[in-house]
Amino acid sequence: MGFRKIEAIIRSEKLEEVRVALDKEGFVGMTVTEVRGRGSQGGILLEWRAGEYRVEFLPKLKIELVVDDFDLQRALKAIEESARTGTTGDGKVFVYTVDNIIRIRTGERGGKAL
């Protein structure tokens, strides 16, 4: 049995919807980081005093959580459905294999620490 880390880059305004969707599926613990990035569409143009200036990196949020292999598809489905708007910029999800998990307070390892 193994564990997977889900790293989801999402629209900042979708955080609460994603959090509620994960909560409903029983995934409570997660880490959120403010990040800046760009996809294949590149940056956007904003208004300057006269004319425009380009912003190449847009603000996004990165959610990280670790789940049991067995729960992976449920977690991914919750994120995808809650974070999707259907327009460019909805973000991406990456899934990694996790070697081990340690709960610092107790020293528990593996599934018990999850």
Binding site: E47, A50, V55, E56
Partner: protein
Amino acid sequence: MINSGDTAWVLISTALVILMTPALAFFYGGMVRKKNILSTIMLSVAILALISIQWVLFGYTLAFGPDIKHLIGGLDWLGLIGVGQAPNAVYAATIPHLAFMVFQLAFAVITPALITGAFVERINFPAFLVFTLLWATFVYDPVAHWVWGMGGWLKNMGALDFAGGTVVHITAGVSALALALVIGKRKGYGKYPMEPSNIPLTVLGAFLLWFGWFGFNGGSALTSGGLATLAFVVTNTSAAAAALTWMIISWIHKRPSVLGLSTGAVVGLVAITPAAGFVSPLSAILIGAVASIVSYYSILLRTRSGLDDSLDVFACHGMGGITGALMTGLLAEKAINVAGANGLLFGNPHQFIVQVIAVTVVAVFAFVFSFVFGKIVDAMFSLRAKSEEEEIGLDITQQAESAYN
């Protein structure tokens, strides 16, 4: 004879105008990148300290001291010797001479601060101090004498400049152009995006400038009666007309931008400055609207030219000041201020010609001297920060401080 109402108004106005320099610091600071916001603010507030001393020691006497050949003030009032609590009837008969002096100090301070917008994010601080001192002494003080000093040659010719459209804004605007040429573009300008650090700070600065401008123009009446009130009203009216015009232009282009509206407000304030005591409120609407259009397209042209007058001092203050000075020559009315003159549209084409001459002479003088002083200071102290200092950011490398932690 000292009038307490006049004195109170001029002192309050002085405090308002002194507030404009820190307001400008934030107006400019919000538009530069995060790594340079403190160093940009520093340029303006350092000038407030530096020129306050220069003015007391010798600036005031050079600008307003007893006339020498219509070109410069004599050194009679060096260190403010002889400038006391009694009025100087030549300049302002109802307020202490010291009140007139300190009101003018506030103008001498903000003018070089305006120029700093041209060289933010790459200026070498010690060289900047030397340039500012030279500029204040050999550009601002003589021009202030020509236009406002008793016996000054442009004043004698009848040039109208109520509160400094020519003395403050045209000198600052064209000098900014000269300095932008001498110092060159910021590294990566036009190649990499340069995101403004904090637009709300810029908006706050712009509207504090609007507030302070009531002192700038209203105080220039040097009395607290009807003329100050007229200047107050046309100032607000022109700023509003220019802000609306700029908002509409940016809306047609894309969206009604708050940075655009704020820039428009400042341009409207610049343009009404020379006209404030001479035109009607309806004329003020026209002046503000026209100046907005002129400055908006000046920024676009400047951007296309590739010249890095980083915060568009020339487009906003130079072109705004020129527009205001020329429109004063069109729209001034003796019916509004008997001490003024009629403009071209009120049957006096001569006034328009005088305005053109004053604008041209001052612009050429300020440009040439700024360029030369820029080159001299650059050769002696390097006007530009070191390449790696510019990359890291001037907050850390020039001030050893960080705005955001």
